[in-house]
C-alpha cells in the first residue's frame, strides 16, 4: 500500500505537472524551431508573440462572457482561441511584411535578424501592455477539477490524493492533437514536404519550383497557431502576465536547442526534457522516501537536490551542457 501511495505522490506532484508544463514548452519550442528552420533566425520575440496571442484570446473570452456564451464545464477560452489565432496570424504577417521581409530580401546574416526581432519584442511588449496592462489576469472559467484530491482519497482509501485539474487534461489533450496534426502536415502533405525541403536547402528548393512566399506564409500561419494555443494553455493553467511570458522565452529556447534546433520532433521532446528535469531536480523527495523506505531509514532533510529557486537555472544548465557536448542537440538538428 505504501508503494502505491508513493507512486500516486510522484504522479500528483511530478508526473502530471511536468507533463502539462512540458506540453506548454513543447508548443513554444516547435514555434521557435520552425521559425529558425525556415526563416533562419532566432526569434527573441517568441515570448511576447505568445503573450499577444493570449491577450487576443482573453479579449475574446471577455467578449463571449459578456454575451453569456459559454461551453459549460469547459473554459470559454477554448471558444475564443480560434479568434485569437486569427488575430495572432494577422499581427505576425503584418510584422513580417513591414519588418522581416526587407531583411529576407537583403539576405541579412542571422545576427541582424535576431537584433530586428529584439525590436519586434519591444514593440510587441508595448502593444500588449498598452492594450491589456501588465497585471496578472486569470481568465479560466468552468469546472476546475476533474478529480479532486479528497474525492480520490475517499474513492481509493489511499493516504495520498491525486488531483487532476481540467486545464492539465485540456493542455495534454490539445497538445497531442495539435502536434500529431502538425507532424502529419509536415511529413505527409505536399506543402509540408516543400517546407522541409526549403529548410534543408533553400537554393535547391527554389530550383525545384517551390514558391518561397507561400512557404513563409504557411510558416507564419503555423507559428501563429502554435504561439496562440501554447500561450493560451499556459495562461489557462497558471495565469496571464506579460512579464512571465517574456521570461518563459528562455526555457522555450532551451527546449528548442536541447531538442536540436530546426527539428520539430526534437523540439517537442525537448520541452518535456526541460520540464521533467526542472521538476525532478527541484522536488523534495522526503515524503516519497518515507513511503518507500522502512521507518528506521527515514531521511532527515527534505532530500531536495536543488532548491526550487533554481528551477530556471536547471534548464539553462542542461542547455549549456548540451551545447558543450552535443551542439546539434539530442535529436540532431542543424549543426551550429
Amino acid at each position: 500500500m505504501d508503494f502505491v501511495n508513493a507512486i500516486i505522490l510522484l504522479l500528483n506532484y511530478i508526473f502530471i505537472p511536468a507533463l502539462t508544463y512540458g506540453s506548454q514548452l513543447a508548443l513554444g519550442a516547435i514555434f521557435v524551431t520552425l521559425i529558425y528552420g525556415i526563416l533562419r533566425f532566432a526569434n527573441f520575440a517568441t515570448g511576447d508573440m505568445m503573450s499577444f496571442g493570449t491577450m487576443a484570446t482573453i479579449l475574446f473570452t471577455w467578449y463571449f462572457q459578456s454575451l453569456g456564451v459559454s461551453l459549460g464545464v469547459l473554459p470559454t477560452a477554448l471558444l475564443a482561441i480560434p479568434f485569437g489565432i486569427i488575430f495572432m496570424i494577422l499581427y505576425m504577417l503584418l510584422i513580417d511584411k513591414f519588418v522581416f521581409k526587407y531583411y529576407r530580401h537583403q539576405k541579412s546574416p542571422p545576427v541582424q535578424f535576431a537584433m530586428v526581432s529584439i525590436g519586434v519584442m519591444f514593440v510587441t511588449q508595448a502593444v500588449v501592455r498598452i492594450i491589456i496592462g501588465p497585471a496578472d489576469r486569470r481568465f479560466f472559467d468552468g469546472e476546475k477539477f476533474i478529480i479532486k484530491a479528497r474525492e480520490f482519497k475517499e474513492m481509493t482509501g489511499l493516504n495520498e490524493g491525486l488531483a487532476l485539474k481540467s486545464t492539465q487534461v485540456i493542455t495534454i489533450f490539445v497538445t497531442i492533437v495539435l502536434v500529431s496534426l502538425l507532424f502529419w502536415f509536415l511529413n505527409r502533405t505536399k506543402t509540408g514536404k516543400s517546407m522541409k525541403a526549403y529548410s534543408d536547402n533553400e537554393d535547391l528548393a527554389l530550383l525545384s519550383g517551390i514558391d518561397p512566399k507561400k512557404i513563409v506564409l504557411v510558416t507564419w500561419v503555423i507559428a501563429g497557431i502554435l504561439a496562440t494555443i501554447g500561450g493560451a494553455l499556459y495562461g489557462l493553467d497558471k495565469s496571464f502576465k506579460p512579464f512571465t511570458y517574456f521570461n518563459n522565452m528562455l526555457p522555450i529556447f532551451a527546449a528548442a536547442i536541447v531538442g536540436g534546433i530546426g527539428n520539430p520532433f526534437g523540439a517537442f521532446l525537448g520541452g518535456y526534457v526541460i520540464a521533467f528535469s526542472e521538476i525532478l531536480l527541484t522536488y523534495a523527495y522526503k515524503k516519497f522516501f518515507m513511503y518507500v523506505l522502512p521507518a528506521s531509514m527515514e531521511p532527515e532533510g527534505l532530500v531536495q537536490l536543488l532548491s526550487t529557486d533554481y528551477k530556471f537555472a536547471v534548464s539553462f544548465s542542461i542547455l549549456v551542457i548540451v551545447l558543450l557536448y552535443r551542439p546539434s542537440g539530442i535529436f540532431k538538428g542543424k549543426v551550429l
Binding site: 526587407y102 541582424q112 537584433m115 511588449q125 498598452i130 549549456v320 558543450l324
Partner: protein, 437 residues
C-alpha cells in the same frame, strides 16, 4: 533641458545614469563593434559588478564569520580541489568515454559533497540577525575599490563563459550568454549567505559626502549663500531669508552630492574613452577588425582567433562589471531582484545599435540618447496623448486607458527606434569610421 523643465536634481540623476549606461555600452561595443561577438549576458556582469561593490564596502559581519565562515572556506577549498582534479584528469588521460564519465561523476559527487558540508554553515550564517545581516558581509574597504574588483569579477566570469560558449555560432552565443546571465542572477538572488539575496543590501558606503552632513557644514552653507545671494537679498524679512536659505541648502546638498558622482563617473568615462580609442587605432584594433571581417583570412595570417576572441570578451565584460559597480555605488543599495534582462541587456543593446557599433563616441552618444528617451518617454507620450486627445473629454474611456498606460510607451519608442535605425541607418547614428593612414 530637463533641468529647466523639471529640476536640476532629476536632470543630474538622469545624467549620472547616462554616464553609467555609456560605460556599459562601451563594454558591449568593444565586443560587438570591434570583434563581432554578441553578448546578451550584460545583465550578469552588471550584477557581478554590483556584488563586488557589496563585498568590498560592507563591514564584515564578525558573528557570521564565526558561525559559518569555516564551513564556507572548506566549501571553497573543495571547489578548488575539484577543479584541480578535473584539470589533472584532462591533462593526464586521453580523450575517451571513461574520462568523460569520470569527470561527470566527480562533478556530481563534488556538488553533493559541497552542498552537504556547507549546509550547516550557510544556515548558521543566515540565522545571524536575519533582519539586518544574515550574510558574511564584505571587507569594509572604500567602495571605489569595488570598481576595479567588479571588473575582475566580471572578467573572471567572462573567462569561464568564453571558454564554454565562444565556439558557438553568433545567434547561439546570444542565447547561451543570455541564459548564463540568468543563472548568475539566480545564484545571486538565492545564495543569501553571500548577497542577502532578495532581502537586498542597503546603506552602502559612499565615495561622496552625505546630504545630511553637508547641510550642517559651514563652508557648504556659505557656498550656497554666495551662489544665491541675488535671490536671497530680495527677501527683506530675516526669518524668511533664513528659511529660504535652509530650503536652498537642502536642495543644494543633493545637487552637490550628485555632482560629486557625476565628476567621478566622468573621470571613468574619459579614461575608458581614451583607452578604447587608443586600442581601436592600435595594431591590436586592426587585428580585431581583421578577425571580425574575415575570420578565416585572419586565421591564415597566423592570428590566434580563439585567443583574441576570449581576450576581447573578457575586456568588454570587465568594463560592464565596472559599470555595474558604479551603478550600485550611486544607488547606495544592491537589489538582486531588480536585475532584469529587459533593462540590463536588451536596452544596452539598443544603445549600442542606435549609437553606432564600432565607434566609441557612438556608444557614448547611444547611452545618453537612449537612456534619456527611456526616462523621458513617459512624460513625452503623456504630453502627446493630451495634445492629440485635447478635444475628447476627460471621462472618455479610451483616453483614460491611454493615460493609464503611459509608462509602457517607452517600450514602443525603443522598439520603433531600434527598428527604424536597423532599417534606414544600419550602422547607427555615428557609424564606424576607420581612417587608414
Amino acid at each position: 533641458m530637463v533641468g529647466i523643465f523639471q529640476s536640476w536634481n532629476i536632470a543630474l540623476s538622469i545624467f549620472n545614469l547616462c554616464l553609467i549606461s555609456a560605460v556599459m555600452t562601451m563594454g558591449a561595443n568593444i565586443q560587438w563593434g570591434y570583434a563581432g561577438l554578441i553578448n546578451f549576458g550584460i545583465m550578469g556582469y552588471t550584477a557581478l559588478g554590483g556584488l563586488a561593490a557589496v563585498l568590498i564596502s560592507v563591514d564584515p559581519v564578525q558573528e557570521a564569520w564565526r558561525a559559518g565562515g569555516f564551513d564556507i572556506l572548506m566549501a571553497l577549498w573543495l571547489i578548488v580541489v575539484m577543479v584541480l582534479v578535473i584539470r589533472f584528469i584532462l591533462k593526464r588521460f586521453e580523450k575517451s568515454k571513461i574520462r568523460t564519465y569520470t569527470i561527470a561523476a566527480i562533478i556530481i559527487s563534488g556538488i553533493l559533497l559541497i552542498r552537504f558540508s556547507a549546509e550547516p554553515g550557510i544556515e548558521a550564517i543566515e540565522a545571524v540577525d536575519p533582519a539586518k545581516t544574515g550574510f558574511l558581509g564584505g571587507f569594509g574597504l572604500p567602495i571605489v575599490f569595488s570598481w576595479i574588483v567588479g571588473a575582475l569579477f566580471a572578467g573572471g566570469l567572462a573567462f569561464i563563459v568564453g571558454k564554454v560558449a565562444l565556439g558557438l555560432r553568433a545567434d547561439y552565443l546570444a542565447i547561451a550568454t543570455l541564459l548564463i546571465s540568468e543563472i548568475v542572477i539566480a545564484i545571486i538572488k538565492h545564495e543569501d549567505w553571500l548577497t542577502r539575496g532578495v532581502k537586498n543590501v542597503i546603506g552602502l558606503k559612499r565615495p561622496a559626502p552625505y546630504e545630511v552632513d553637508l547641510q550642517t557644514t559651514d563652508w557648504f552653507i556659505n557656498l550656497v549663500e554666495k551662489f544665491n545671494s541675488g535671490k536671497l537679498s530680495v527677501i527683506e524679512n530675516l526669518a524668511d531669508r533664513q528659511a529660504a536659505l535652509n530650503q536652498l541648502v537642502i536642495e543644494g546638498s543633493s545637487v552637490f552630492v550628485k555632482l560629486c558622482y557625476s565628476g567621478l563617473f566622468l573621470v571613468v568615462v574619459i579614461i575608458l574613452l581614451i583607452l578604447t580609442q587608443k586600442a581601436l587605432y592600435s595594431p591590436w584594433g586592426r587585428m580585431m577588425r581583421a578577425i571580425r571581417d574575415n575570420e578565416e583570412a585572419a586565421n591564415a595570417m597566423g592570428k590566434n582567433v580563439v585567443k583574441q576572441h576570449l581576450l576581447i570578451f573578457i575586456l568588454g565584460s570587465a568594463i560592464v562589471g565596472i559599470a555595474g559597480a558604479m551603478l550600485v555605488t550611486q544607488d547606495g543599495l544592491f537589489t538582486p531582484g531588480s536585475y532584469r534582462p529587459m533593462r540590463y541587456t536588451f536596452l544596452i543593446w539598443v544603445m549600442v545599435i542606435v549609437g553606432g557599433s564600432g565607434n566609441n563616441f557612438g556608444a557614448i552618444l547611444g547611452g545618453f540618447v537612449v537612456w534619456f528617451l527611456w526616462i523621458e518617454a513617459a512624460p513625452i507620450s503623456l504630453f502627446l496623448i493630451n495634445f492629440f486627445t485635447a478635444g475628447i473629454p476627460e471621462t472618455n474611456a479610451l483616453k483614460a486607458h491611454l493615460i493609464e498606460s503611459v509608462p509602457y510607451f517607452r517600450f514602443l519608442l525603443m522598439g520603433l527606434g531600434l527598428l527604424f535605425i536597423m532599417r534606414y541607418r544600419p550602422k547607427g547614428i555615428l557609424p564606424e569610421k576607420i581612417e587608414i593612414k
